[in-house]
Amino acid sequence: MSKESRMRATVNQKLTEMGERERLKELLRAKLTECGWKDQMKAHCKEVIKDKGLEHVTVEDLLVEITPKGRALVPDSVKKELLHRIRAFLAQHAT
């Protein structure tokens, strides 16, 4: 376990250090905007806000409402590409 957690820690560290994490983040954001995921999520936010009331909305409220839906709405192509890149990185730099 600790070996695994150590390995994870190493991998995460490597991801961040080499800038791969940032690159992956930007890539994901761009792809999600491109495919309309962002607009869908914003529309969902509007509904949540209308439900909760404009004045009393907090970041946590939104996050709790949005994240599950967001995870579900990511298109398969985007998901596949991202997974592929992560695996490639691990194969190259880990182990």
């Binding site: 991998v11 509007k46 806000i49 404009l54 949005i66 997974l83 695996r87 691990l90």
Partner: protein, 358 residues
């Protein structure tokens, strides 16, 4: 979620896959968080719901989807067939042509001044050259070629026909016609031409002293270009002069020593010698030209006003054979101001030459 096989051992593989998915989930959550922050900030700043208004306004600005009409509900070629009345000329102009028409009608805009100037220039040139053709004899002799070359040279740039500069250049040309005309490289598009049949002998002679004079095959007119016009050779010019004025009257003022020496073998009588006098004045001395004033009359008409420097050189060189009408003319101009513009020849000097020849 079975992905491609990785070249790893079993348990490691699954662990690695799990790791990959975990990393992926982290990234997605990160994106969601970013979105939440963005939305929350927009809500708190009050700009989140800006694109939504009340229901009535929404209906008013809905996208229109009818045929013949654009999405705003406007007919797009509504003004195509309309006609507008021009406030200047009171004509009905099509809407799409209205702006260019106004430009020309009111005389404003970039092109209208250009067109007007060009029109003025061509009109003036036409009228000027036409009037020149009537003016045969007299001091406007130079205007023949001047008119032709002016039209060709200043076709597009001639803006002010009545400027003082124009008359100044005219006077300038009286004395210096040779240099300016001779140096012109342009090909004239318009050559008024003269019909030799209508001219008297004096006029013909006067023309031939200043102009090329070669008779065109097609139009039967004499070329009005300078003595050095590139379209005709000296042979042609000489032939024309022989044809028009008699066999012994070649009047090419150009320095052509080889050709010209032949001419002096022909003299027949006093008249011919008188005619030849102008072209051959080998020794131009003030005294000679002064004394020639009395004797020479008629030969002056054929003097070319152009040639100065080249013929001067020839004069000094060859006494008998050089064409020196130009030089003689220049000299005589100095000595004989009383005559018309035609410079007088020095007769006594020439007569002496002929005495030698004879």
């Amino acid at each position: 979620m079975k992905m491609e096989d990785m070249p790893l051992s079993g348990p490691d593989n699954t662990r690695l896959e799990a790791l990959v998915h975990d990393i992926y989930s982290e990234l997605v959550e990160d994106a969601c968080l970013g979105l939440c922050f963005e939305v929350h900030r927009a809500v708190k700043q009050g700009c989140f719901f800006l694109d939504e208004t009340d229901q009535e306004s929404m209906k008013e600005f809905e996208i229109v989807d009818q045929p013949g009409v654009d999405i705003f509900g406007q007919v797009y070629n509504q003004w195509k067939n309309k006609e507008c009345e021009c406030p200047n000329c009171k004509r009905l102009i099509a809407a799409s042509r209205f702006a260019p028409h106004l430009e020309k009608c009111l005389g404003m805009g970039r092109n209208s001044s250009r067109i007007a100037n060009r029109r003025l220039a061509s009109n003036n040139n036409m009228s000027k050259s036409e009037s020149d053709q009537e003016d045969n004899d007299d001091l406007n002799d130079n205007d023949w070629s001047y008119g032709a070359e002016k039209k060709a040279k200043k076709r597009k740039s001639d803006k002010n026909q009545n400027s003082p500069r124009r008359s100044k250049s005219l006077k300038h040309k009286n004395g210096e016609l040779g240099s300016s005309v001779g140096s012109e490289p342009y090909k004239y598009n318009y050559n008024p031409g003269i019909s030799y049949e209508t001219l008297g002998p004096d006029e013909v002679r006067s023309l031939l002293t200043t102009q090329c004079g070669v008779i065109s095959e097609h139009t039967k007119k004499m070329c009005t270009r300078s003595q050095r016009c590139p379209q005709h050779t000296d042979e042609q010019r000489r032939a024309v002069r022989v044809f028009l004025l008699g066999p012994s009257a070649p009047s090419l003022p150009d320095g052509d020593p080889v050709g010209e020496s032949n001419i002096f073998d022909i003299p027949d009588g006093q008249t011919l010698m008188g005619r030849l006098q102008w072209e051959d004045s080998p020794d131009i001395s003030p005294t000679d030209s002064a004394s020639s004033k009395a004797s020479t009359n008629h030969s002056d008409s054929r003097r070319p006003k152009k040639k100065k420097t080249p013929s001067l050189g020839l004069n000094s060189g060859g006494g008998g054979g050089s064409l020196s009408g130009g030089s003689s003319s220049s000299q005589s101009n100095i000595s004989l101001p009383t005559k018309k513009k035609r410079p007088k020849l020095s007769a006594p000097s020439i007569t002496s030459i002929y005495d030698d020849l004879n």
